[in-house]
Each structure stands twice: as C-alpha cells, then as structure tokens.
Subunit: 455 residues, 2 copies
C-alpha cells in the first residue's frame, strides 16, 4: 500500500499495559532506533542488536550511573514482522509505575520520543500491515465489553468489511475503465455498446452498499449497546424487575478477578448484546409530567431510548394515559408494552408484547427475546457477514451511494461518458476512504487520537 504521508523516522515509546500496579508491565518501543536505544540501557547475556526476531532475553536495565533499575525480559521483533512493521522491542518489567516511569525516562534520554495515542497502530497502517477499518477495529476490540461487540470488532479486524468494500471498489474501477474505453472511441462515433453492462454494475454496487448501510443499525447496536428506558407508573414493579434482571445478569458475570471492576449497576447483557437500563423513576402519567422534579431527564431518557420498556400492572391493566404520553415522545415501534404481576391476575395478552412476573421470574425469558428482537430486528447477520458499525464508514458509504445515484441518473438521461465517469470516480474515492486507500492526515489524526496511549 502506498501513502502520501512521510515515513516515520523516529522511534517511539509508551507503556502498553494498563496503568497501575500489577505483576508485569510492558513498555513498547518501535522505530528504526528501537534496538540500538534499548541496547544502551540493557545488560544481558547478549546484545539485543545480535538477537534474532521473536526471541526473549533476560537482563538488567541500568541507568547512566550504572544503577540497576529492574531486571526485565526484552522481546525482540525485527521488521517487517512486528505489530508496526518496524523494528520493535517490548520490555517486560516488574509492574511498578515508578519502574515504568524510570525506564521510559531513560529511553527518552536516549532520543526516543513518547508515543502519541494510537501511534503504534497508525504506524502499522502506514506501513501497510493493516488497513484503516482494521486499525479502527483494534480500538473497538480493546473497548469491547460484550460478546457481540467483541465479535463485531473481531469480524472487522479480520477484514470482512475491508474485503467487501475493496471488492466493490474493484468493480467500480472496472466499470470506469469500460466508460473510459467508450470515451476514447467517442469521436469515432462507435455505438454505446456496454451501457447495459455499466448500468448493471452500478445497480449491483448500489445494492451491496444498501445492504452494508442496512447493517449499520445492527452494527451500531452490537458495538455500542442498546439504550432501554424503563417506564411505568409507581408500584407497577419497576424496581423489582430491575433487581430481578440485574441479579440474573450478575450470575452470568464470571468470577475471574480483575475483570469485574468496571461493571455499572444498570447494564445487562442478553445473548452478548449490551442493554443499558435507564430507570425513569420520575415519570408520571398525564398532566403531572411537567410538574415533578426530574421529569425532563425522564422525557429525555424516553426520547433517546432505542427501546422504551413500558411496564404495567396486571391488577390495574394498561396505563392508557401514560401510553399516549409515550407516543408523544417516541415512535410506537420503539415501545415494548409489558405487563407485570401475572402471578396475581390473569391478563388479556393482546394489549401487551409480553407478560411477566418480576416476583417469580415467569415470562422473563420471553421478555429477553422480545428485547433482543426489538433491538436488532429479525435481521440475521452471520459471523461471516460484513457489518458496518462505525459512523465514519457509514458516512463514506452514504457518500458513495449518492455518487452512484448521480451516475445512474446520467446514464438514464443519456449524458456523455464524462459525466458518468466523474461520479464513478467520486464513488470509488468514497469507498477508498473506508479502508484508507484514500485518506488525509486530518482523517488519520482524528481516528488515532481516540486510541489509548501505547496502542
């Protein structure tokens, strides 16, 4: 892959493991001087400069005063067989922030620069190790907190989206060349032979782009999760339901130490998809809605929710007033009407999407199924489908689609080949943006600045 960006000639360093105290910390160094720089502070049985790629060496990190900072393991990766595609070193130290700081400082004293956020992955991209969607997937993988988001990011890192987009781009290039052939012969007034073929290609590409665009709502949900507003009148059992759901959820969370720190009380995973529950405790029916405190936040939660879980009491029946109020805030298809306390009273099922008992747990599995169905629809993306989950990709694909529509219009209006060719070329560039074949420093900086340091 060729880029207009200048090659990296400096060597960078960063802590690659999470900050804090642990058994081990890893300091990552990459760039042309990485081996020489580490050799200056490392005393082992042999010099790093004479070590083979993918080998590990025990030794000491020594400062300028010959003082031992730590005994470490140094891993050697020689270009191009490293993450960045450059010569790289990983230093495995005792997991003390002070030791990490001292070693990084020593390297900085030896002309190594502190890495910017995402700079290692940016170099991997610039050196052609991965394309742009894959680079973006690296950040998604690190931040994935559900099975589904991990699988989606994994899918993207494995290049499924890249491959699909690249295929469409190739097809566009071929189609453009057909037109250019026509243009060359235009003066000779040869008949516009391949117009059908061109139109067929344009339609086919547009259809595939439509499929990718359609996968975005699914992709976004598996990546970012689903916002669910829990709405109901007082005493319908919102808290009981919340407690029941969270207890179920907790039971699923594995007990491995160090993994459960960041759990937020209001999150729930169903079949690997993250549901973020917002309890709208302040919400009341009818005119009360503007009178009580916190009501704006409740309205906002309903407006922003992907799903509104509208809870009712079986002993009371459907809260018609609250339902019509909800319809003023969101669309009907986002509302999941649920009736609670079916252990107490039998209910007519047609008014509700699901009937549950937060007390006995009856109907909860059906509720889960309905929530999942509401979230991702009945679409069934296999693990091998290309899925769009990134708004940048979505925007570029939309742009490509617009240009394709322009091209089709030109064909239908029998405009000359030049008009068609310009649109096809623009569509091609829009697709190129997705995978980074066409890109700018601004786009790159924007993407990689969102990474953590050390990646």
């Amino acid at each position: 892959m060729k880029h207009l960006l200048s090659q990296n000639e400096d060597t960078i360093v960063a802590l690659a493991t999470p900050p804090g105290i642990g058994a081990i910390s890893i300091i990552r160094v990459s760039g042309p001087d990485s081996i020489a720089a580490v050799d200056k502070i490392f005393k082992g049985r042999k010099q790093i400069s004479s070590a083979s790629t993918h080998t590990i060496h025990y030794g000491n990190i020594i400062d300028d005063n010959d003082e031992l900072i730590d005994d470490v393991l140094v891993s050697v990766f020689r270009l191009p067989n490293s993450y960045t595609g450059e010569d790289s070193i990983e230093i495995s130290t005792h997991g003390s922030p002070l030791i990490v700081q001292k070693i990084i400082s020593l390297l900085v004293d030896n002309e190594v620069r502190l890495a910017e956020a995402g700079e290692f992955t940016k170099r991997a991209f610039l050196n052609g190790r991965i394309d742009l969607t894959q680079a973006e997937a690296v950040a998604d993988i690190i931040n994935s907190n559900t099975e589904a988001s991990l699988r989606g990011a994994r899918n993207q890192l494995d290049g499924l989206l890249s491959k699909k987009v690249d295929e469409l781009r190739e097809l566009l290039v071929n189609t453009s060349s057909l037109i250019e052939l026509e243009l060359d012969f235009a003066e000779e007034d040869i008949e516009f032979m391949s117009i059908k073929e061109i139109l067929a290609n344009v339609n086919r590409i547009e259809k595939e782009i439509d499929d990718l665009l359609a996968s975005y709502s699914f992709g976004r949900i598996i990546k970012d999760g689903v916002n669910v507003a829990l709405v109901g009148k007082p005493n319908v059992g919102k808290s009981s339901l919340l407690n029941y759901l969270l207890k179920e959820s907790r039971a699923i969370v594995s007990e491995i130490p160090g993994t459960t720190r960041d759990i937020i009380r209001e999150e729930l995973t169903i079949d690997g998809i993250l549901f973020r529950l917002f309890d709208t405790a302040g919400m009341r029916a009818g005119k009360d809605i503007i009178e009580i405190e916190g009501v704006n936040r409740s309205r906002e939660a309903v407006q922003n929710a992907d799903i509104v879980l509208f809870l009712n009491d079986a002993t009371v029946g459907l809260s018609e007033d609250l339902f019509s109020e909800l319809l003023g805030l969101t669309s009907a298809e986002r509302i999941l009407s649920v009736v609670n306390k079916i252990d107490l009273v039998e209910v007519e099922s047609e008014s509700f999407d699901a009937g549950i008992s937060a007390k006995t747990g009856e109907g909860i599995n059906i509720l889960f199924h309905k929530l999942k169905q509401k979230a991702i629809g009945t679409q069934n993306y296999s693990e091998k489908s290309a899925i769009v989950s990134n708004v940048r990709h979505y925007d570029s694909l939309r742009k490509a689609k617009t240009y394709l529509e322009g091209a089709r219009k030109s064909i239908e209006e029998k405009l000359t080949g030049e008009f068609i060719a310009v649109d096809l070329r623009n569509a091609e560039n829009a697709l190129g943006e997705v995978i980074g074949k066409v890109t700018s420093d601004d786009i790159l900086n924007n993407i990689f600045s969102k990474f953590c340091i050390g990646k």
Copy 2:
C-alpha cells in the same frame, strides 16, 4: 534448596498485567501442563509444544466452537529457565478485560486452575529460584513508589540481606559443630579448648545482628515513608507551606502518562524518601485543645508522627504553650521547630531548627535537609549495605539475638555444651526463617497472600 512442602503438580493461570483497558494484557500460565493446555486453544504456524524456550509465536486463540477470540503473541519459557522454574507461557492479548476473561475461562476449561495471590512467586521460591527475602522483595518492588523504596527493595531482591544472613547462619553452624565436637569428647573429659573461639563467634554474630536491627528504622522509612504532622497556631502559614512544598513536589513528578494516577495530594518526596504530610488544622494551643472538633484526630496525628513539623510565626515568636503541649504528646527529638515569615522579621535562630519563608522559598532547602536528617538520622547506608525493612525479618533477627544472648550467658555460667548448643540451634533456625531455609506453610501463605494475583 530443599523444602518439606509438596511439589506443585497443577498448572495455574492469572492476568499478570494491571486490570483494565490498555493496548496489551498479559496472561501468565505456569506448571507442567502449561504448554499442552495453551496448545489446545492456540493455532499458530507451529505448535507451542515444538517451540524452543524464550521464543515468541504469533497465532490465534480459538474456542471450542472454533470461534476466534483474539490474535495473540505467545511467549514460551521452558523449565528451569522461567520465573517460576516451571514450564511457563505468557499470552499477550489485546488489552480488553473481556478477551482476558474469555481466554482465562478457556484455560480453566482445560484443567488449568486460577492462581492464588503471589502463587507464581511462591513457586519460584519453592523451586529454589529465589529465597524468601527475595520473594518478599518482589512485592516491595511492585509497590515501591519512591526512588528510595525502589532501591531498598532492589537491594533486597539482589540478595544483599540474604547473603549477610546466610553468612551469619553458616558461622553459627560452624560454631555449633565445634560445640558438638566438644560434646562427643565430653566423656573423655578433654579440656574445653575452643570456648574462647565460640564466645568470639557468638559476639561477632550478635554484633552483626545488632547492625541489621539498627538498619530497620532506616529500612522501614525508605520502604514505607515518613509520617509528618504539620502543627502550628492559626495564621503561622501552614497552608502556604503546604502549597509551596506540594508545588515543588509536583514539579518533580514526571509528565509520563499513566504514572501519575495514584498521587495523593499530601505526599512529598525529598531525595527519594516519601514524606506523608498530615495537616493538623484542628489543633489549637492550651485548653482549647479538648474543646474543638477534630482535635482527637490532630492529637493522634502528632502521636503517630515520625516527625512533628512545628511551625511558628516570626512576627510572633515561639508558641511556648503549643510546644509544651506537643511535648506531652511526643518526644522532643521528633519535633522539628520551624519559624516561618523570616522575610518579614529577623529572628533569633537558636530557638528554631530552621527558618523559612513559605512566601519566597527562602530556607526551604535547609528545611528539606533537616526533615531528611530527622527521618533517617546521620546513618549512611550505602547501596551495598544489607538493610532490614520487613517486620518479619526484624522479628526473626530479634529472636536470633535473644537465643545468642542465652548462649553467651550459658558460656559465662560455664554450663555444659548441651545448653549452649540448643540456643545456637534456635538462633540458627531464627536466621533460617528470614531467608526461608526454615519455614512453615503458615508463614508462606501469610507472605504470599499479600501479593497481587498474577505475581
């Protein structure tokens, strides 16, 4: 090294890097089945079982459903050349807690057990890779947060204390055998030839133990830091001093990302030694002391302080009443009398240990020097001195000293060799406890349970 403890026959796994999101996380596996267990979930260009020690292999971690969990680097360490002395594997994954959890779960499904706190280091000890003081130093190194504490822990990990204690223990063994020789010949009524030599050895060992015991106040301070209570009447400038000190301190703290998270506002490092400042704002002079809120806490801070920084106002002079109150709470040699605002008024210096201006910074360096002197005295331990910083070591050395005193008394009272021999044997065991030549499961569990998981 031989131990009565059973050998480890199971294989253990843990996250070795700090928990949380980062570029890289490392999962550590150790034990006889570590290579086979990882091979079951790893698909790379070659099998781990055929890999050489200290080599790195790129590949995929695959679950039972053939689903890709992550692409990883696997580092292979074959016995005895690993941290634990066993076959060990380190898996370098994308730094997502979810991925870490999934991979650890996969290994647990393959008969690998979750490691207990400190279990890797415990195995290193049991397999004779390091002795007990060195194992304890590993935990100290990880937790060290100042230059001095790091250097002290480093010194211990490098075996300076072990070496010294082992020397003394050897000398005791030799001395005991002299006595046992005497005992063998006792019936033949041979003259007690070596009594002088035995006494000389006992005295020498006792002297060396005294030196080690004396190093404890220094060792404890470089390891744990110094508690300083900042005391003074209102308006003497306590806050100004605190702000000035902390600003100075902040300037020293390096700007490397990820290392400054755990800084607590009230800590200050002088020449690598940690000073923990307790502001006793609630403290007043005279009878007021029992009347105001928070006064108990202030009294406690003074009582627990290694140093009481007693601040006075140059425009007012020494607060005699507060000084005599302090003498009721702590000893005179712990009090550092300092006079502030010397930019405003000239003061007679004999009443004070140091004169400063928290406004201009005048005298602050002298204050630093005096604080350090108060903290560690005029003792000057070189980097090559054996230093005791661990209360367990201190207690065992005290015990050894008591037995040696008993032995000397027996010699002076001309008791028979048996009495002397028993005391020497006990002293020998006490020294053996320090380095772990004599140990029990209880002691070991107590030591290693304080480690973090993964170490």
